[in-house]
């Protein structure tokens, strides 16, 4: 056990050094959520005012933007493992006497840590721009937890892709193929009851919807524990499915 902690920590430190040296790419990952928040949140507020019971559109889309940020960060989180694979570093890591799980756990912790930091930055900015969280600071913590429940599954998918694919071209192709439909066929921008029926069906199958709806209750209405639990449960089912799929895939790949 202590060996597992040590090897996981050593690998996590490696990623943290990357984080520290490559601040640019992280800042960059925040650009598009911030643009959404600042400009679209403002631009559409007139139009949305009528249908959204008087809340500002900015408050309304905050959960969607948070979910999208987590989504982007988590789903691309496996890419560094793919780079390691492409240049032979992974072979080297695998030749070390480490548990295979430590490779995934360290990367997983890192990706979710970064997501949490990004969520905090976005929420702070939204508060500065006048958005209000109905449940206050405790609500913010639950909101981050909701984000992580979504991120968990997506990170597993991403790590799995890194092991299955052979080059990062394929990886990016799959990423861009997934991003748009998952973003728009969810409740991130439009509430479920304002969607055409076919779209609502798709959105209900999309885990992003559950994360967004859960966060939205926290931001807009307050502590609705029953509803929050339902949303969290849906996300956990999705997490478990991804984890099972991930573990069986990786078993076959790296023994």
């Amino acid at each position: 056990m202590s060996e597992f902690l040590q090897e996981t920590w050593a690998q996590l430190v490696r990623w943290l050094i990357h984080l520290q040296r490559e601040r640019f790419s992280l800042t960059f990952a925040l650009v598009s959520p911030i643009v959404f928040l600042v400009f679209f949140g403002g631009a559409f507020s007139q139009m949305a005012q009528a249908s959204l019971r008087g809340e500002s559109y900015r408050t309304f889309i905050l959960p969607g933007i948070v979910a999208l940020t987590v989504f982007g960060g988590s789903l691309s989180g496996g890419i560094e493992l793919l780079f390691d694979k492409e240049n032979g570093t992974l072979t080297r890591i695998l030749a070390a006497p480490i548990s295979r799980a430590s490779i995934l756990v360290s990367r997983f912790l890192y990706v979710n840590l970064v997501s949490s930091i990004q969520v905090c930055i976005i929420v702070a900015l939204a508060l500065l721009l006048g958005a209000r969280i109905a449940t206050g600071i405790p609500g913010l913590l639950v909101l981050i937890a909701m984000g992580l429940l979504l991120g968990f599954a997506l990170t597993v998918i991403s790590l799995m892709l890194a092991f299955v694919l052979t080059n990062h071209g394929e990886f990016f192709a799959i990423l861009s193929f997934l991003t748009l439909p998952l973003a728009f066929l969810s409740s991130a921008f439009v509430p479920l009851d304002k969607m055409p029926a076919w779209m609502a069906v798709c959105a209900r199958l999309n885990p992003m919807t559950y994360a967004v709806n859960g966060m939205r209750t926290l931001v807009l209405s307050g502590w609705d524990w029953g509803y929050l639990a339902k949303m969290a449960l849906a996300l956990m089912v999705f997490d478990t499915l991804c984890l099972l799929l991930g573990v069986s895939t990786l078993r076959r790949r790296i023994g």
Partner: protein, 321 residues
């Protein structure tokens, strides 16, 4: 009787239709530097991948440091260090950070770690550059760092896959010096290379691998002795290469010629060590009107060993890639 450090029996590895290894038997003694010598695509890296437990052979067995690597891969991984053919250090990290990362993966405790990191940075002459990101390093420095990472846990067995590929003469000489130092400290080194001089200089014993099979194994001297005597290599202009076969035939009838081997526009004539051999061969050539562009008389090197046991030259294979 020296004890065996690495042993393989009948290793077979296929990648789809390609048979990368076709029954590889090897025996490496404890403390020796062992060279696996072969051209591109011969199966050197594949052999190493199996020995470091990252590839599964279709058939055969292997032990590393007394551990059956197919049954207990996790235990075997503690015993060896591995330096791959490619440059693999993390470019965003400094040399020191790279070494600490490996120290963590090899479970060194904190005080051993710092001590070992300093020792290795000194060993590979990177102490001054230790706190600069690796992306600012030259290829040679990166290679040295890779070697240091492979030595972090002071392994008794080290796998080195083509260490001097693409390096300049100076760095190559440095790496050779480090490898000779390892031998002095009793480390078993398994070295893949396609440079004859490297194998000749560093290795106690050599196995020649060609198309997934071991063609011959022994000490460099044994292999040379098996060729017997010396070798005269002569070369005609390409357009005259047709005349070589006739010349080879004529030469084989001379009493001191043991064997001839034609290879394109080159002819190797194995002779008993004999002062008069060279003039007599030249005499024959001019009597037959064969134009000679170049001629050399040499004690055979591993180059000739390779040619004799595989039927082709190592550099020709390399150029094909």
């Amino acid at each position: 009787m020296e004890s065996v450090s690495i042993r393989t029996r009948g290793l077979v590895k296929k990648y789809g239709d390609v048979t990368a290894l076709n029954g590889v038997d090897l025996e490496v003694h404890e403390g020796e530097t062992f060279g696996l010598l072969g051209p591109n695509g011969a199966g050197k890296t594949t052999t190493v991948k199996i020995l470091i437990t990252l590839a599964q052979p279709e058939a055969g067995s292997a032990q590393v440091g007394g551990v059956d690597i197919l049954r207990e891969p996790a235990r075997a991984r503690r015993l060896f260090g591995y330096v791959p053919q490619e440059l693999t250090a993390d470019r965003a990290l400094t040399a020191r950070e790279n070494l600490r990362w490996f120290a963590g993966m090899y479970h060194l405790d904190r005080s051993t770690r710092e001590h070992r990191v300093r020792e290795l940075l000194d060993l590979v002459d990177l102490a001054e550059a230790a706190d600069r990101p690796v992306r600012t390093y030259s290829g040679g420095m990166k290679k040295k760092l890779d070697l240091a990472c492979g030595l972090i846990h002071d392994p008794k067995i080290l796998f080195l896959d083509e260490p001097s590929l693409g390096l300049d003469v100076k760095v190559r000489a440095d790496l050779w010096r480090y490898v000779l130092g390892l031998k002095q400290r009793g480390v078993t080194v398994f070295l893949c290379t396609n440079y004859m001089d490297e194998a000749d200089r560093l290795c106690d014993r050599v196995a020649v691998i060609d198309r997934g099979r071991i063609a011959v194994a022994g000490t460099p001297d044994e292999l040379r002795a098996a060729l017997g005597g010396d070798v005269i290599t002569l070369e005609t202009p390409p357009e005259a290469s047709g005349t070589l076969a006739g010349l080879a035939q004529a030469l084989s009838t001379l009493p001191f010629v043991k064997e001839t081997l034609a290879d394109g526009s080159r002819l190797s004539v194995y002779v008993e060590a004999n002062e008069t051999a060279l003039p007599r061969v030249l005499e024959q050539a001019s009597a037959r009107g064969t134009t000679i562009q170049r001629i050399a008389y040499s004690r055979p090197g591993l180059d000739e060993v390779f040619l004799k046991y595989t039927g082709h030259r190592i550099d020709e294979e390399a150029q094909r890639v």
